[in-house]
Amino acid sequence: MKTFSRGGVHPPENKLSATTGIQALPPPQSVKIPLSQHLGVPAKPAVNKGDMVRVGQIIASGDGFVSSNIHSSVSGKVLKIDNELDPTGYKRPCIVIEVSGDDWMETIDQSTKLVKETNSEPESIISKIREAGIVGLGGATFPSHVKLSVPRGKKAEYLIVNGVECEPFLTADHALMLEKGEEIMVGTQILKKALKVKKALIGIENNKQDAIRHMADLARNYDGIEVFALKVKYPQGGEKQLIKALLDMEVPSGGLPVDVGAVAFNVGTVFAVYEAVQKNKPLFERVVTVTGTSVRNPSNFRARIGTPISALIEASGGMPEDTGKILLGGPMMGKAVGDIAIPVIKGTSGILLMPGIESKRRKIQPCIRCAKCITVCPMGLEPYLLMPLSEKSMFDRLEENKVLDCIECGSCSYICPASRPLLDYIRLGKANVSKLIRTRKSQ
């Protein structure tokens, strides 16, 4: 069975909500939709306070190429456009909408009938994806139309569909593959057409046997789609790791997957592409896993963007009393939040409620030079070295040691027997080094 070669860890999988299917969550009473839910320039609001909006109506337009449109996920009245707490932990511009009814734009096809045929040209597919505000739903939230616009001089040969979901606890992609497999296949065909490639590879980790079987059965009816079972290893869902596992090719340092002829999309993104192109439905809802060892009903919800996470926690049986930490995302890469009023955004794949005992940080001890962090780093970096360099602000040496190659998977912090906060410092170093590079470029 295939897997990537360098590094990796095996955290307990804990896929508690793997078999619960996807439940649709009704729209909440009010939504907060942040203007910056994607990598790149924040969108510009296209509505004013007091405006009435409908489901699927564009409320903020992407400002520039690397940016993304944002659509209303509910129908109702725009209460205000103000700074509100968003998943970054800071107050940022958000559009707050008070919900009344559920009035969809008539352009959206709400039927669940599968539409297989697509007559669109590659350019019109890409522009539709751009219009629909689709970003990478695996968590990085990179605008998809930018990924699809292959730079001149480079050629895409493979489309990689990422159904790995290597992050423990999360099952959103798993549930989606089981329920919407056919749609994902059609979405894959659409993306193949947009990229003008002949071959698509779907990678699924071996702990999702039912999804592998289901997808492989479906793939037989479609041309040029192959499903691969992959050995379970974190962080296989990382784009570069998945390309290594499936194609045995390494993306060069500082390069993009397209440098080796591959373009990768998460299954969630592929499903959103299907809905955008075939059903005219922009991206305003997504599947979110709500899970945790003491959560009453760990489940997968189809939630509107902007729904406060408190509504999702409520729907899964309420906040467990022993909750010590709330993470957006999984336990490895997730981000702790300090407030349950913050909204679900395009990049929210899960909400993990960690019991107090599980979430405690252990005492930081001195590095014992065991080099475990080097062994597990999937990018071949030396975290033990990067941390003190970042701590001491030695940014030029950080850059030499390829700190920007770090994918922030957290394997080093996970494995460290001295519980050193390696990733915290590396992240800080990354931010400072990219700032340095930007100033150097602007000079």
């Binding site: 107050k91 930081i364 410092y425």
Partner: protein, 311 residues
């Protein structure tokens, strides 16, 4: 036996003399001329190597001073005017003068005024916490209290107050080198003009949220109500984003703005206590009793009363 010793001595002396000659000629040939004044200037500098001047240590700064024609933008904040006058004398130029400065912390959000809304248990440095999220209180502008500033202060002028959880500047030891200004991820330190007897009046808040929101999470937040702005006779106060700022160059320490502040966000230190009369005049607003201690927030009892009123 003795001949062996004699030969050894002769050989070693010859070798030594030869090596000395080689070294002498090499030293002459590859001599790097260095202005002797650099050493003199360096000796006149404080030698703290703090980087407050913007150069990598005193030697580097001395080189820049010797090279410079008119000391433009060159100043040693640690040594101050005295040191700069000494340097000017060595180099035979006009001395540069600057008003002495002192660092102040523009946050008064002690634990009692700014309750925690969540617990942060990550790496205990301000830079990392601020990179992760807005902090463990509702105020995303205020002090995080891990003491990155205390760590970088080379002059022992900063200490954490265990009661308030805020760093305290020791005016006598502060040299205004600016290390804390650079270290604070929230930009809470400001270098202000050092006034007579170390008297200070400043707005101890950087919260740019709207007034009500700022007050919700911190009892001593500046709400941007503009009362101080209106009362200032010297136009020293300017309004920023929901925030007042007192310009230390223009402020004449008249103390009129302090009692009008409804949230006690304006702090005065180093003043003698106010007379009774002033207090009765402004009885509707909590008066800020001045103390010599910077950390002591003015009139805490009044604030708690205020809080209850709001609720």
């Amino acid at each position: 036996m003795s001949t062996v010793v004699i030969y050894t001595i002769i050989t070693l002396i010859t070798l030594g003399a030869f090596a000395a000659m080689v070294l002498y000629f090499v030293a002459q040939k590859f001599k790097v001329f260095e202005d002797p004044r650099i050493d003199e200037v360096e000796a006149a500098l404080p030698g703290a190597n703090c980087g407050g001047c913007g150069f990598a240590g005193c030697r580097n700064f001395a080189e820049a001073l010797v090279r410079s024609e008119d000391f433009a933008d060159l100043f040693c904040p640690v040594g101050g005017n005295e040191t700069m006058a000494g340097v000017a004398k060595i180099l035979g130029r006009e001395p540069a003068t600057q008003d002495p400065l002192v660092a102040v912390l523009r946050c008064n959000g002690a634990c009692e005024f700014r309750p925690k809304t969540n617990n942060y248990d990550g790496t205990a440095t301000c830079t990392i916490e601020s990179a992760l999220y807005g902090g463990d209180t509702g105020c995303q502008y205020g002090c995080l209290g891990h003491g990155d500033c205390v760590e970088v202060c080379q002059f022992d002028a900063l200490h954490m107050d265990p009661v308030t959880g805020l760093p305290v500047v020791d005016d006598a030891k502060c040299t205004a080198c600016g290390a804390c200004v650079r270290a604070c991820p929230r930009n809470l330190f400001e270098l202000r003009k050092r006034q007579k007897k170390d008297r200070k009046i400043y707005v101890a808040c950087m919260n740019e949220d709207k007034g009500g929101l700022a007050r919700k999470y911190c009892a001593v937040a500046c709400t941007g109500c503009t009362l101080c702005f209106k009362v200032c006779p010297f136009e020293a106060i300017t309004m920023g984003t929901n925030l007042a700022f007192i310009d230390s160059e223009k402020c004449r320490l008249c103390r009129k703005c302090v009692p009008v502040c409804p949230t006690n966000a304006i702090i005065e230190t180093g003043f003698p206590p106010r007379k009774e009369q002033v207090q009765t005049e402004s009885s509707s607003v909590p008066s800020a009793e001045s103390t010599d201690n910077t950390a002591e927030p003015a009139g805490d009892k009044d604030i708690s009363k205020n809080l209850k009123k709001e609720e």
